[in-house]
């Protein structure tokens, strides 16, 4: 769906085989679907996104490439990535301004995954962010509202991963984490990606890092690397330090932000079998994290769901806090200044 609500964009293929076809159609059915692009992929589906201004569709993956085309059609798709033989697109995201696409590709050298930025309209060639290093792997990246891109990579081609932040055409990226900390927590190697979230304004990155054997913490650092990262909260020795949640826009998010109060709310498990608990912390680390829930009944799995209400300054969560096996709704101030209050009694 385009952001203006006028047009649906979809992909399909004939009989489950053949190329994928991208089409756009007015949601009121006032015109027939218009085929705007074709993509010769054999399996699965082809990721695509519509730009926030509703004007362009970006789609593609793998060796077939990354393309953009107007939602309204009229011109053929434009290939956005470079063309080194044998290279491909590993993953991509729209920049938050919708004017650029950030992607990981081995188009600079086949033995390295590198980060690139290209205008959605293809008006300029892609620009690489950072250097290309053999066997480098981009484990995670997040475009920020500031225009910078935070990304987790292993510049030494080892299992040690750092958080870097850079911009297209802006020189070498800066290191955001303490050099001794590893963005890939040992328990995550091979299965989970790093935890990395940019604050809504794009001025800071929040990330989890291992600070030693079995010890991890949540950190916050200014995106330009102007001051060192600060620890927000310890993540108690656990295989599940922080959880991913579906966020407002349907993307996954590890934390939810209250921009007004400059706080982050997150869930964490204290111990492998402990209940899932809610915490709130200022995003600049200026005060300690506070726990939002009170103690649960014995055997409780803890908090089941939560929503953030920044306008009224509260967090609502579902938990069997009072009676094991009975999940009820509670309300608590985002800053944890008062104890939770039950609002739905089941």
């Amino acid at each position: 769906m385009t952001a203006d609500g006028s047009t649906a964009v979809f992909e399909g293929r004939s009989g489950g085989s053949g190329p994928f076809r991208f089409c756009s159609v007015p949601v009121d059915g006032s015109a027939a679907p218009l085929e705007i692009g074709v993509f010769p992929q054999a399996f699965g589906y082809v990721p695509f996104e519509v730009t926030p201004d509703s004007s362009m569709v970006v789609y593609g993956l793998g060796q077939e490439g990354l393309f953009s085309v107007p939602v309204a059609g009229g011109t053929p798709p434009i290939r956005l990535n470079g063309g080194l033989a044998g290279s491909g697109i590993l993953t991509w995201k729209l920049g938050l301004d919708g004017a650029s696409v950030v992607y990981v590709s081995n188009e600079a050298r086949l033995d390295a995954g590198d980060l690139f930025v290209v205008p959605v309209d293809g008006s300029a060639p892609a620009t690489q962010v950072g250097a290309s290093i053999a066997r480098q792997f981009i484990a995670s990246f997040e475009p920020a509202a500031s225009g910078r891109i935070a990304f987790v990579t292993n510049p030494s081609a080892t299992s040690h991963y750092d958080l870097l932040s850079g911009e297209a055409m802006a020189g070498a990226p800066v290191l955001l984490n303490d050099p001794g900390d590893n963005l890939v927590i040992p328990g995550e190697i091979g299965s989970w990606g790093p935890l990395l979230v940019n604050t809504p304004g794009g001025t800071r990155s929040i990330f989890a890092a291992s600070t030693g054997p079995g010890v991890a913490a949540l950190f916050s650092a200014p995106s330009d690397g102007s001051t060192p990262a600060v620890e927000l909260a310890p993540l108690i020795d656990s295989s599940i330090p922080v959880h991913v949640f579906p966020s407002v826009d349907g993307r996954a998010a590890e934390l939810l932000f209250d921009v007004r109060r400059q706080r982050a709310v997150f869930g964490a498990v204290a111990g492998e079998d402990g209940p899932l608990q809610l915490f709130s912390v200022p995003i600049d680390g200026s005060a300690a994290a506070v726990r939002l829930n009170t103690d649960f009944t014995a055997g409780s799995p803890g908090v089941h769901y939560f929503v953030l209400a920044p306008r009224i300054g509260r967090v609502f969560f579902a938990a069997d806090q009072r009676e094991a096996g009975v999940t009820e709704l509670f309300s608590v101030p985002i800053d944890g200044s008062k104890a939770p209050r039950r609002i739905v009694n089941l």
């Binding site: 027939a32 989970w192 991913v244 769901y305 609502f316």
Partner: protein, 191 residues
């Protein structure tokens, strides 16, 4: 299409009635792409399956089996608490109830997926966030369930765009009215 449009966050797996793909998320282990992927542990006998807040932050909408065990119904309550209002239409015995819901961007209506008409055959319905008549979202023929997540409300909150069980794309007014086949000229191209 989005899997969620409300400011709702899931920490534990939803129980059996909500266990179809792309719906209410379980406890989500982190993955490289950030996609919730699996449940942490077996769910308890949870009564509240999911909650969401409308844009104005003056209504919490939630699913709960507060009347019949295992039958999820839709409720709304003010953030300050008080009496919950049941939004979903009554269910016959043996129905699972709701499988999913989505608050409209304007925050005045709720779209939900439920098996009102036949057990385990899920159709789309809409209702005002303050209650009132439940409206079935029109589609041409009953060819199985509409899948969870295969629908979205337009940003102006006027229409629903959805895939039916035959991978055809439709849109219909959220407040009720005739559907439009958006893929009508694409014979042979399942969406």
């Amino acid at each position: 299409m989005r899997t969620r449009s409300s400011a709702c966050v899931s920490l534990l797996a939803c129980i059996a009635p909500l266990a179809s793909p792309a719906g209410a998320q379980g406890v989500a282990l982190r993955t490289g792409s950030g996609t919730p992927s699996q449940s942490l542990r077996e769910p308890s006998t949870a009564d509240v399956y999911w909650l969401a807040l409308n844009r104005d932050e003056n209504r919490i909408v939630y699913l709960a089996d507060r009347v019949v065990d295992g039958q999820a119904r839709l409720y709304a309550v003010r953030p300050s608490g008080g009496q919950s209002l049941e939004l979903s239409a009554p269910f016959a015995s043996g129905r699972s109830g709701l499988s999913d819901f989505e608050i409209s961007p304007a925050g005045k209506s709720v779209l939900y997926l439920a098996d009102h008409e036949a057990r385990a055959r899920y159709e789309l319905y809409s209702v005002g966030i303050d209650g009132g008549a439940v409206v079935k979202i029109s589609r041409p023929q009953l060819t199985g369930s509409i899948n969870r997540g295969a629908y979205t409300i337009t940003p102006d909150s006027e229409r629903v765009v959805f895939l039916d069980g035959q991978s055809k794309l439709f849109s219909a007014p959220l407040a009720g009215g005739s559907h439009v086949d958006l893929s009508r000229s694409l014979r042979g191209i399942p969406v």
